[in-house]
C-alpha cells in the first residue's frame, strides 16, 4: 500500500518521487565517498599495499626456483621421488645447477632459501658450487664424496619444497616445526622458541593489562567523582605522561631502575638493600613490565574515566538506602556499570602491548624481549621471509583482537583527552 502511494507521487518535473529520491540519495552517498577517497587512496598506497607486499613475501621466495632450473624441472617430472635415495639423474641436474650458480654468482641466494628450512646449508652450497665444474659422472658418488651432507633426505625435501616459488615453509618454521629426514615435524621442546615467545608475549601483555586495570580503576574513579575543577587539574597528571615522548619515559625508567639508578641508590641509602646486592630491575622482564605499564596506563585511565564520569551517583545511594553494604553496592551496582570502560581500556592496552617494540628493545635486556623484537631481529639478520611470516602471524592475532574491539566497543568510540 505504502509503496503504491510513493510510486504515484511525482516531483515538479514529472518524475516519480521514489526514483528522484533514490537519485538524490545516490548522489549524496557518492559525494560523501568522494571526500574520503583521497585519504583512502593514500592509505592504500602507503600502508595497505606495503603490508600486503609483506604478506606476499611471507610465502614467496624464488631464491632457489629461479636459479636451479634443471633441478626444478626434474622435480616437476618426478614429484614422487624418494628423498632418502634420489637417483643419479637428480644429482646430475643438481651438479648442472651448481655449476650454473657458480657462473651466475647466485649461490648465496639459493643457499639462503634452503637455509631457512635446512639450517647450515649456505656453506654447503658455496663449496658444492665451487667444486661443481670439476665433477665427473657418476655425479651421485662424486658429489657425496665431496660432502656426504648432499645425501641428507631433509636437504632433498627442502630443495623439493623450494622448487616452487610459493611455499608455506616459512610459516612452518615460524611455528617451530622442523624439516627432518621424514618431512615436517614438531621441533623439540628446547627448539620451540617462536611459539614460546608468542605465548610469553601474550602472557606478559595480559599481566600488564591486569596491572594497568588495577592501577587505573581507583584513579579513574577519583577523577570521575571529584568536582570538575579539581579533576581537570589531576587529569594533567595523566595527560602529561601521555603526551611525553615514549623515549623520554623509557630513559626516565632507565635512570630510575638501573643498578646505579635513583631507586637502588635510595634503597641503599635507607639501608634496605646492601650495596653489593643492588636489585636488578632494568634490562630484564621486570624493566619491560614496569616501563610498559607506565606507558600504557593512560590508555586504560582515559576510557575508564569517560565511562565512570556518566554513571549517576544516585544509583549507589539508592542501593545503600535499600540496605546494601558498601561492598555489595560496589559489586552489584557500580562495577557492572563500568564494564564498558573496562572492556574498552583492557582491549586497547592488550592490543598495544602485544605489538610493543621500543620499550622491550631498550629496557628488556635478554629475557624481556617480545615477539616484535624477534621480527626486528630477523630483519636485521636478513631473514626477511621468516620475519614476514612471524609478522603475519602477529598481524592475524591483532586483527582478531581489533575485530573484537570493534564489536564490543566500536572504533568510533576511541577518544583522547
Amino acid at each position: 500500500m505504502a509503496e503504491d502511494a510513493t510510486t504515484l507521487l511525482k516531483t515538479a518535473d514529472g518524475r516519480p518521487l521514489k526514483a528522484a529520491l533514490a537519485t538524490a540519495q545516490a548522489r549524496s552517498r557518492r559525494r560523501a565517498f568522494l571526500l574520503v577517497l583521497p585519504l583512502l587512496a593514500f592509505v592504500l598506497l602507503t600502508f595497505l599495499i606495503p603490508i600486503g607486499y609483506m604478506l606476499k613475501r611471507s610465502f614467496e621466495h624464488d631464491g632457489f626456483s629461479a636459479n636451479a632450473p634443471a633441478l626444478v624441472q626434474w622435480f616437476a617430472e618426478n614429484p614422487g621421488f624418494d628423498p632418502a635415495n634420489p637417483p643419479e639423474a637428480a644429482f646430475a641436474a643438481l651438479v648442472q645447477d651448481l655449476a650454473k650458480m657458480q657462473a651466475d654468482k647466485t649461490t648465496g641466494m639459493v643457499g639462503t632459501r634452503i637455509n631457512y628450512t635446512v639450517p647450515g646449508t649456505i656453506s654447503l652450497f658455496k663449496s658444492g658450487a665451487r667444486a661443481a665444474k670439476d665433477l665427473a659422472p657418476p655425479y651421485k658418488e662424486a658429489l657425496l664424496a665431496e660432502d656426504a651432507k648432499w645425501g641428507q633426505p631433509a636437504l632433498w625435501r627442502g630443495m623439493y619444497d623450494a622448487s616452487s616459488t610459493y611455499t608455506g615453509d616459512f610459516y612452518q618454521v615460524a611455528v617451530d616445526r622442523k624439516l627432518t629426514d621424514d618431512g615436517w615435524a614438531r621441533g623439540g621442546d628446547k627448539e620451540r622458541i617462536y611459539v614460546y615467545l608468542f605465548v610469553k608475549t601474550f602472557l606478559v601483555s595480559a599481566l600488564i593489562t591486569v596491572i594497568c586495570l588495577l592501577l587505573a580503576f581507583p584513579v579513574s574513579h577519583l577523577l570521575a567523582t571529584l568536582p570538575m575543577a579539581k579533576s581537570s587539574l589531576l587529569m594533567i597528571l595523566v595527560l602529561l605522561p601521555f603526551w611525553t615522548s615514549l623515549l623520554v619515559r623509557t630513559t626516565a625508567w632507565i635512570a630510575l631502575l638501573q643498578e646505579q639508578g635513583v631507586v637502588n641508590n635510595m634503597l641503599v641509602a635507607l639501608g634496605l638493600v646492601s650495596d653489593g646486592n643492588r636489585l636488578s630491575m632494568m634490562y630484564n622482564m621486570t624493566g619491560t613490565i614496569v616501563a610498559m605499564t607506565h606507558v600504557l596506563l593512560p590508555f586504560m585511565i582515559l576510557p575508564l574515566y569517560s565511562v565512570m564520569r556518566v554513571i549517576p551517583p544516585s544509583y549507589a545511594r539508592a542501593a545503600r538506602s535499600l540496605g546494601a553494604t558498601s561492598w555489595t553496592t560496589f559489586r552489584r551496582v557500580y562495577l557492572p556499570q563500568t564494564l564498558p570502560g573496562i572492556a574498552a581500556g583492557s582491549l586497547l592496552v592488550f592490543i598495544l602491548a602485544v605489538g610493543y617494540y621500543i620499550t622491550p628493545a631498550l629496557v628488556g635486556g635478554a629475557d624481556g624481549q617480545l615477539i616484535s623484537n624477534l621480527v626486528s631481529f630477523h630483519m636485521t639478520k636478513s631473514n626477511w621471509s621468516l620475519a614476514a611470516a612471524l609478522a603475519a602471524l602477529l598481524l592475524v592475532a591483532i586483527l582478531v583482537l581489533y575485530w573484537v574491539y570493534d564489536r564490543l566497543v566500536g572504533i568510533d568510540r576511541l577518544k583522547f583527552g
Binding site: Q25, R29, A32, F33, P38, L39, L40, F42, V43, F47, P50, I51, G52, Y53, M54, R57, L215, P218, V219, H221, L222, L226, M228, I236, L237, V238, L240, P241, W243, T244, S245, L246, L247, V248, T250, T251, A252, I254, A255, Q258, N265, H294, R309, S326, I351, V354, Y357, I358, A361, L362, S376, M379, W384, A388, A391, I398, I411, D412, F416, G417
Partner: protein
C-alpha cells in the same frame, strides 16, 4: 567522592587507603617524567643524583649536558663562541641537525595527515556515508597494527617504490627521493610513513568534533543564501577548527616521537631526534639524553596546554558543558 556522614569506621579506613592508592598511582605516573629534569643538570656523567645534588649545592649542578647538544659533531667545538661558531653549530651539531630533521618531517607529515584526514572526516560524518564502519576501521588501523609490522612492510615496499632518476617523474620528485629514486632512504618516505601514522588521530579528533556538530546550522546557512563554499568557510570551518588543530598536534606529536619506521626505512641522512635518542640509549648512555628529554618534556607541556585550551574552546563553541 566525599565520605558520607553515615560511613562506618571500616569504611573510613578503606576510604583513606583508597586515597593513598590514588596518590601513589599519580606519583607513579608523573615522577618518572619529572625526574629527568633535575637529573639533566648533573655535573657528573651519571644517571643518578650525586651527594652534592642532594645537598642542593649549586656546584653539583651544571649545564654541561645542554652544552653537549651544541658541541657534539661541531667541528670547532672549543673555539671561541662568535657568530661563526654559532652558525657552525646550527649547520653541523648532531643534535641540532636531528632537531631540524624532526621538525621538517613532522611539519610535512602533519600537513599531509591533517588535510587528507579532515576532508575524509567530513565525509565520514555524513549520515549517508556508505561502508562507514569498514572505512573507519581501515583508517584507524595504523594506530592498532603493531608498528613493527608497518615498518617491515614499508621497508620491503618502499625499497621497491622507485622511479628512474633520469625520467620525467624522477626529475620532478627526485629531490624528495633517495639518490636511487626510491621512497626508502628518503625524506618523502619518512614523511608519508609518519603521515599514515598520524591519520588515525586526526580522524578521531575531527569526527569527535563533528559528532556534536548541529547539522541544522548548514541548512540555516543554505536557507539564508550561502553557497556550499561560503557555508564551509564561514560556518563549518570555524566550528571544527579546534578539533582540526588538536588533531594536527596529535599527528605532529606522533611524528616527533616516532622511531621504529625511521629505523627501518630512513637512510643516514634522515637522522631524527627519537632515532638519535634510541641509538644513544642503546650505545653509550650519557646524561645528554636527559637534557634532550627535559627539552622534550617542556615541549610536551606546551603541546598539552594548547590541546587542552582548544578542547575547552571547542566545547564552549559547540555549547557542550562539562565533559
Amino acid at each position: 567522592m566525599a565520605l558520607p556522614t553515615y560511613a562506618s569506621p571500616l569504611e573510613r579506613v578503606w576510604y583513606y587507603t583508597y586515597l593513598t592508592i590514588c596518590v601513589l598511582v599519580f606519583l607513579f605516573l608523573i615522577l618518572p617524567v619529572l625526574i629527568v629534569i633535575p637529573l639533566s643538570f648533573n655535573l657528573e656523567p651519571y644517571f643518578s643524583f650525586t651527594e652534592k645534588m642532594l645537598a642542593l649545592d649549586p656546584d653539583g649542578y651544571s649545564l654541561r649536558w645542554y652544552d653537549t647538544l651544541l658541541t657534539l659533531g661541531h667541528p670547532t667545538a672549543d673555539a671561541p663562541r662568535d657568530n661563526a661558531w654559532w652558525w657552525s653549530a646550527w649547520e653541523n651539531a648532531t643534535w641540532v641537525k636531528a632537531a631540524k630533521n624532526s621538525l621538517w618531517v613532522g611539519l610535512w607529515a602533519t600537513v599531509l595527515a591533517t588535510t587528507l584526514g579532515t576532508i575524509a572526516a567530513l565525509g565520514l560524518s555524513r549520515p549517508e556515508m556508505p561502508y562507514r564502519r569498514l572505512i573507519m576501521a581501515i583508517l584507524i588501523s595504523p594506530m592498532i597494527v603493531p608498528i613493527i609490522i608497518i615498518a617491515v612492510g614499508m621497508s620491503f615496499f618502499y625499497a621497491k617504490a622507485c622511479v628512474a632518476p633520469d625520467s620525467a617523474v624522477g626529475m620532478i620528485t627526485g629531490t624528495f627521493l633517495s639518490t636511487k629514486g626510491c621512497l626508502a632512504n628518503s625524506y618523502l618516505g619518512v614523511i608519508v610513513a609518519h603521515a599514515v601514522l598520524g591519520i588515525p588521530f586526526v580522524i578521531i579528533t575531527v569526527t569527535a568534533t563533528l559528532s556534536g556538530f548541529d547539522q541544522s546550522l548548514i541548512r540555516a546557512a543554505h536557507s539564508l543564501g550561502a553557497n556550499p563554499r561560503v557555508t564551509f568557510f564561514k560556518v563549518v570551518a570555524p566550528l571544527i577548527l579546534p578539533g582540526v588543530i588538536s588533531g594536527a598536534l596529535f599527528a605532529f606529536g606522533t611524528s616527533f616521537d616516532e622511531v621504529v619506521a625511521v629505523l627501518f626505512i630512513a637512510g643516514p641522512e634522515q637522522q631524527t631526534i627519537p632515532r638519535q635518542m634510541f641509538n644513544g640509549i642503546r650505545e653509550a648512555i650519557s646524561p645528554a639524553i636527559l637534557a634532550v628529554a627535559t627539552i622534550l618534556v617542556i615541549f610536551s607541556v606546551a603541546l598539552l596546554t594548547v590541546v587542552e585550551l582548544l578542547r575547552r574552546r571547542s566545547d564552549r563553541l559547540r555549547g557542550v558543558t562539562g565533559r
